[in-house]
């Protein structure tokens, strides 16, 4: 019998198979962009280091979180949702210097803007060992958000741009870089966490 030419394999469904695999990998790939709150820890305390200077009470915004996840802010119980507003008020302060509960101001040399009064604000966060991590993150988040909002408003007012826009511009322009520096200098992020204390274990 005469040899028949081998029939060509139909490759039409190859695309389908490839598609199937493609979809499988598309679905299983987790383009897992890790996101989070970036913080910087204070350097370890050396034995021989001098005691830190005393800070006046009016300059400190005290946030306490207890084991039941309750907040005490400047001596008043508060919900997390109100914390941002309160923190913003404190960070901006009272530039006229009238309010004795608001932080003091100090003339500081700031790039671009020259000599202007800068608040001596510090935010202090203390938590118990049994405070839940979730609450802790919420508080941290609100405090960072307060700083970010204050900075944004200030940048908007002084330079007509938000911090994000400035940061985008800073990639090419030195001016924007200096402006960012200025805003950060006027409202430095000072979130201090107390050395851990033990208020009695459960």
């Amino acid at each position: 019998m005469a040899r028949r030419a081998a029939p060509e394999i139909n490759a039409g469904s190859m695309a389908d198979i490839a598609f199937l695999l493609l979809i499988f990998f598309l679905v299983t790939t987790t383009m897992d962009v890790d996101t989070g709150l970036t913080r910087k820890l204070p350097p370890p305390i050396e034995e021989e280091d001098p005691d830190p200077p005393e800070i006046k009470e009016r300059n400190v915004f005290i946030v306490l979180a207890n084991a039941n996840d309750d907040l005490l802010v400047e001596g008043e119980p508060m919900l997390v949702s109100n914390l941002r507003e309160e923190a913003k008020k404190f960070i901006i302060g009272d530039p006229s210097g009238q309010d004795p509960d608001m932080p003091e101001f100090k003339m500081t040399e700031v790039p671009v803007l020259g000599n202007i009064p800068v608040s001596k604000q510090i935010v202090s966060l203390q938590n118990d060992r049994s405070t839940s991590y979730e609450l802790y993150i919420k508080v941290q988040n609100e405090l960072v958000a307060a700083y970010n909002e204050v900075r944004n408003e200030y940048a908007q007012q002084k330079f007509g741009k938000t911090m994000k826009e400035l940061e985008k511009e800073a990639e090419r322009s030195n001016k924007a870089k200096l402006q960012i520096k200025a805003v950060k200098k006027v409202y430095p992020q000072r979130i201090s966490e107390a050395e851990p204390k033990n208020f009695g274990d459960k």
Binding site: L22, L26, T35, G36, L37, P42
Partner: protein, 158 residues
């Protein structure tokens, strides 16, 4: 019958799809290569809390992870339900943190060491005590750049 067979000369020719499998294969290989199967098996249950002011962690190679949470169900009979620290593939105590930091630094170029970030993946229900302990150890090891792993949300609820 020839009416049906004859093509009108004005008809658009069908688009040639012969190259389609090639394109699909190209995409397929791209995804196959970029897919990273998770390198550690989590022994603790972690649901990270949500936050709004998050930043992306850039340069994954410079990030080391510390996991904290309660052991997963299958391991609870053996390890209990108290929060545990997991480093790499095993449970660890807080005393192991410093050694872990040193070991992680060994694997990197000395020039990159100051840029290394330690990301803490902590379950929202964990207590702060263990987190504080880990933070203190990180401070002692001079690993000051840390990151609290969180998911993105639009609004914080009480």
């Amino acid at each position: 019958m020839s009416k049906f067979k004859k093509k009108k000369s004005g008809d658009l020719p069908a688009v040639n799809t012969a190259a389609l499998p090639d394109i699909v294969f190209m995409l397929l290989f791209f995804f196959m290569v970029t897919t990273v199967m998770r390198e550690v098996t989590l022994k603790v249950k972690i649901t990270t809390p949500e936050a709004t002011e998050i930043k992306k962690l850039e340069k994954k190679s410079l990030v080391s992870y510390i996991y904290i949470g309660a052991p997963i169900k299958a391991l609870q009979s053996q390890f209990g339900t108290a929060d545990r620290i997991q480093l790499n593939d095993a449970f660890a105590s807080k005393e192991d943190i410093i050694a872990f930091v040193e070991a992680e630094r060994e694997t990197h170029d000395p020039a990159e060491v100051p840029l290394m970030t330690f990301s803490m993946k902590v379950d929202g229900e964990s207590e702060m005590g263990i987190v504080t302990d880990v933070k203190q150890k990180l401070r002692k090891a001079n690993a000051l750049k840390i990151n609290y792993s969180t998911r993105k949300t639009d609004k914080i609820v009480d």
